[in-house]
């Protein structure tokens, strides 16, 4: 593998300083499940890896009345290993359970998944539908960016040289809400999404009508997409096939998939509709406290 230096600071300020001084030749290392592979294959050529796992701010995993704080270096297993998060932020844990295999989930972080900015990243649609906001620290201070505005192209995001994603914070969940994420893959596990959909719904007291909804799509555009019009189409509508079909149609409108080895553009667009129906129904079931017909990997 390429020769590089390694630092593991414990202070956030020290990490920012190392990244800023390196002038683009340093990379933050969290779980390393993509980074180490990319350095080995020569896709990335850093001179310095800054291990961020010893920094307290990036290890925060805190759920309280204000919402959820998810440190950027927290590995997947810690997230789905917290039952309250699985219950309140189900889409997030649905994602974490299907990123790679169990060994990968021991190390891979949601923050790293987001910063790699792949169009098919399994956690990003969930972060978007749950209203995640990125907290970014850099040499000029801290700024916040909604997750749906973070990725700008395949492998590219809004982080400037020297900036570091510190955490993603989420608002508290509304009453009668539910969320779900799933992807279509030809295998049962260990694969990259052909298409993926995340959704979060809030129902009214009767649990028969949508109050609001957020929908996001993966692998159908250059970045994970926030399908705002599709979610808005459900607001105030009754929970039935017709409402959900309208949301699916709105989501298909904004999907601009490519044709590649995983599927044709036409096939992917069709899958958007299929998955939206299943994901919305599962999110509704969760909001109603009903059993969900879904197993990770199926």
């Amino acid at each position: 593998m390429r020769d590089f230096e390694y630092e593991a600071p414990t202070a956030l300020s020290a990490a920012i300083e190392l990244l800023a001084q390196a002038n683009g030749s340093a990379k933050p290392l969290a779980g390393g499940t993509d980074l180490i592979d990319h350095v080995r294959t020569g896709r990335l050529e850093p001179d310095l890896l800054v291990d961020v796992k010893k920094i307290d701010e990036l290890n925060v995993l805190e759920l309280n009345g204000d919402g959820l704080r998810l440190g950027a270096a927290v590995p997947c297993y810690r997230i789905y290993g917290t039952p309250e998060i699985s219950q309140q932020y189900a889409a997030l844990t649905d994602s974490c359970r299907i990123i790679g295999g169990i060994q990968i989930q021991s190390r891979a972080s949601v923050g790293g998944n987001l910063c790699n900015s792949g169009p098919a990243a399994d956690s990003t649609p969930s972060l978007i539908v749950l209203g995640g906001v990125c907290v970014i620290a850099g040499p000029n201070g801290t700024r916040e960016v909604p997750v749906e505005d973070f990725c700008i192209a395949p492998g590219k995001n809004v982080l400037e040289a020297g900036e570091l994603l510190v955490e993603v914070k989420f608002p508290a969940r509304a009453a009668n809400s539910g969320s779900h994420y799933r992807r279509f893959i030809p295998r049962n596990e260990m694969d990259i999404a052909v298409v993926s959909v995340g959704a979060s719904v809030v129902l009214d007291e009767s649990k028969e009508n949508f109050v609001s909804a957020r929908i996001a799509l993966g692998a159908v555009a250059a970045t994970p997409l926030f399908a705002q019009a599709a979610g808005d189409a459900l607001a105030g509508q009754p929970v039935n096939e017709e409402s959900i079909a309208k949301a699916a149609a709105a989501a298909k409108e904004i999907a601009t998939p490519i044709t590649d080895m995983r599927g044709t553009a036409e096939y992917r667009t069709h899958l958007v509709g299929v998955l939206i129906e299943r994901v919305i129904n599962a999110a509704v079931s969760q909001a109603r406290g009903e059993a969900i017909c879904y197993k990770p990997g199926h």
Binding site: T33, I36, L49, I102, S106
Partner: protein, 161 residues
């Protein structure tokens, strides 16, 4: 050129101090520096699980961990599974059930099975297949491996009863 670092870890209960460069993976350090060649290299990109070891109680692909990250860690490798000359239930079940052919994937499967049974002493077939999905076997196929895991789980349950 990056200088070598001193890394101190606990491996299979014993403290080890070794020298490595930042670009060396934990897999390379285990095999080439420490001579613990039971851990195998398969794909070297996190797909096959042949290099699975436990790091601080969690199964990881050691090809995707830098050796310098193991500073202060508690590691368990395939060499730490047997008790002296006595194979443990998982090793015995793989042997008795002929759950291997070439054997390159076997240490990884055994380490992953150890983690599975620590988390879930009575896994269903579906749970076994899901937990072992990060481990690939290119010769035996998976049925004998799944049966060996079921057998090991039963034997461990019986032993603990």
């Amino acid at each position: 050129m990056a200088k070598k670092r001193v890394v101190t870890t606990t491996i299979n209960g014993d403290t080890h101090e070794f020298l490595c460069k930042p670009q060396q993976t934990l897999l390379e350090a285990l095999r080439d520096v420490l001579g613990l060649t039971g851990t195998k290299e398969g794909c070297s990109n996190g797909n096959c699980g042949a290099c699975t070891v436990q790091m601080n109680g969690r199964p990881v692909d050691s090809c995707l961990v830098l050796a310098v990250e193991a500073e202060g860690a508690n590691l368990k490798t395939i060499e730490g599974v047997a008790c002296g000359n006595h194979l443990d239930e998982v090793q015995s079940a793989f042997l008795e059930g002929a759950a291997l052919q070439c054997g390159i994937c076997t240490p990884g499967f055994i380490m992953q099975t150890e983690s599975l049974l620590e988390e879930n002493a009575t896994p269903s077939e579906e749970e076994i297949r899901f937990y072992l999905s990060g481990n690939l076997c290119r010769c035996t196929g998976y049925d004998k491996i799944v049966k060996a895991v079921q057998c090991a789980a039963e034997q461990r349950q019986a032993a603990n009863a």
